[in-house]
């Protein structure tokens, strides 16, 4: 009794640390401490659980912890910042699989009430969907499988059948708790469902999917908490679930689309309704770009996924310093869905040592766009597409964008004229004040930097 009280008291302490840690994550100045507090909460929760005298076999737990720590620490140390979305997807999947296993193991503990059995099924279902969904997301992000949406007729019907199948297996299991075949059925169908819900989503929508799966992994932990009657799992799981849902919502808003539209429409495959694009593309050499930049006193840099692909963040920072030495003010404008996960660009720029107070959010950058002599678009495309503002026929019409075309001159650094991830024409490239700097972003910027040196 006494030890049980102590354990629950420690869970309260852990919950406070999680909550306070999340609160501190709200500001760059305190975020690191917040993360430490949160990990301290986790440490306490795990250690006191081990103290529980019910727990007999330490050697299996230790073995699991050692193996898991080695894998986790190795992955966390070696991952490149550009690979962060893939990493998060893998960790998500790992958490989901763990929830599934906890739910599965809970079947064999003591006798279970109907309520517990339902939560066990939920924990297996959400855990399974999170696991395979994250694996598919990982495959798409790392380009191991095609980023294109996979759509076929009857897809929705198949998904509904899968859900019905899971419900039937679940109900049958409630009625025959000794027959494990129904649980295997739930696991198999959940895995299949996880794959089915992520394959129709295009690569450009990955920030939404990652956020949503993050939310699922929290909900899976929550369900596992219900299955084994553990409060700390429920509290922590629902905090994560809420955080994932909010991020999902922010991402959807930033793309001016509803969640169901992202999940079911296979956006990336949408056919372009041809809007006549006027004007011509004006390529520019790095040398000419240098002369314009040298004369500029206000420069705005708009990074996108292309910057991550070209690993150009460090040369961008170098260019920023040269421009500042030259007397110019340099700012960065980051669109909420730039990159492959929420806040992806900010992490890359932070890696390159760019001060975070130079980063403007879209709402801050747009009103002062006219004051910028040069807006440099590095590997971004759809988030600066004026069609979102002007062309009602465009699939992205209504999406908030960074209005780079309002700056005096726009440089677009791009590998070729190929359209962006969403497969949409971009009239920005044809505007009279736009200059295209073709080639690898990193090399183009390096050339400009060399010009500064000479």
């Amino acid at each position: 009794m006494n030890i049980l009280f102590l354990i629950n008291l420690s869970y309260v302490a852990a919950a406070i640390l999680f909550i306070y840690g999340l609160k501190e994550l709200g500001s760059p100045a305190t975020a690191r401490r917040g993360n430490m507090l949160s990990s301290a909460g986790m440490f306490i929760a795990v250690v006191v659980t081990l103290l529980d005298k019910q727990i007999l076999d330490y050697k299996w737990i230790l073995l699991g912890v050692v193996i898991g720590s080695i894998i986790g620490a190795f992955a966390a140390r070696t991952v490149a910042m550009t690979g962060m979305p893939e990493m998060v997807a893998l960790f998500n999947g790992s958490g989901g699989l763990s929830s599934l296993l906890v739910g599965f193991a809970a079947i064999f503990l003591e006798s279970n009430s109907t309520f517990t059995l339902i939560t066990i099924i939920l924990s297996i279902l959400i855990g399974g969907v999170t696991f395979t969904g994250s694996m598919v997301a990982y495959g798409k992000l790392s380009e191991k499988i095609s980023g294109k949406p996979v759509l076929f007729t009857g897809q929705q019907i198949l998904n509904i059948l899968l859900v019905v199948g899971i419900v039937i297996c679940g109900v049958m299991f409630e009625l025959n708790p000794d027959n494990l075949n129904f649980i295997y059925g739930v696991i198999a169908l959940s895995f299949l469902l996880g794959i089915m819900v992520v394959i129709p989503i295009g690569g450009a929508d990955m920030p939404v999917v990652i956020s949503l799966l993050n939310s699922y992994s929290g909900l899976a932990a929550c369900a596992a908490g219900f299955a084994i009657n553990n409060i700390i799992l429920i509290v922590a799981g629902s905090l994560v679930g809420a955080s994932g849902i909010i991020l999902t919502n922010i991402m959807c808003k930033a793309m001016n689309r509803s969640l169901s539209n992202v999940l079911f429409s296979g956006f990336g495959s949408a056919k372009q309704i041809a809007g006549a694009v006027e004007g011509e593309v004006k390529p520019i050499s790095a040398e000419d770009a240098f002369y314009i930049l040298e004369a500029a006193s206000n420069v705005l840099i708009v990074p996108g996924y292309g910057m991550a692909v070209a690993q150009a963040q460090h040369v961008v920072k170098e260019l920023q310093e040269l421009l500042e030495k030259n007397g110019a003010e340099v700012y960065y404008a980051v669109h909420p869905v730039a990159g492959r996960m929420p806040g992806h660009m900010n992490v890359l720029l932070a890696e390159a040592d760019v001060s975070y107070d130079l980063l403007l959010e879209m709402e801050q950058a747009n009103p002062r766009m006219e004051s910028f002599d040069v807006a440099m678009v590095i590997g971004a495309n759809d988030v600066v597409n004026p069609d979102a503002r002007e062309n009602e026929a465009s699939p992205i019409y209504g999406m908030p964008i960074i209005n780079v075309d309002h700056a005096s001159t726009v440089f677009v650094l791009k590998r070729s004229m190929a359209s962006g991830f969403a497969g949409i024409e971009n009239p920005l490239f044809f505007k009279p004040n736009t200059r295209m700097l073709f080639g690898d972003a990193k090399e183009s910027i390096s050339t400009v930097i060399r010009e500064f040196g000479s």
Partner: protein
Amino acid sequence: MEAIFLTFILMLSIFLGFELINKVPASLHTPLMSGANAISGITLVGAVISAGEGNNTFTIVLGTLAVVFATVNVVGGYLVTDRMLAMFKKKEGGAK
């Protein structure tokens, strides 16, 4: 009664989560996500219980595997978040 109690806790935590996360600026969304992700590794606690309480080989295997995956989630998540956050710095004289 137990079910109601747990559901009550669930509701409160969800509302608290919404309040907390809404205040996080967009620039910190990636660390927030990987940090939250690490917290979702709280299933480790559940996994520890399952692995420890296991009285047959099958539950021990399930529990131990659950511990492995949850630890990957927790250790990896926290370390990678810390690595990211260490890079978020305000530079002297960077901006006015």
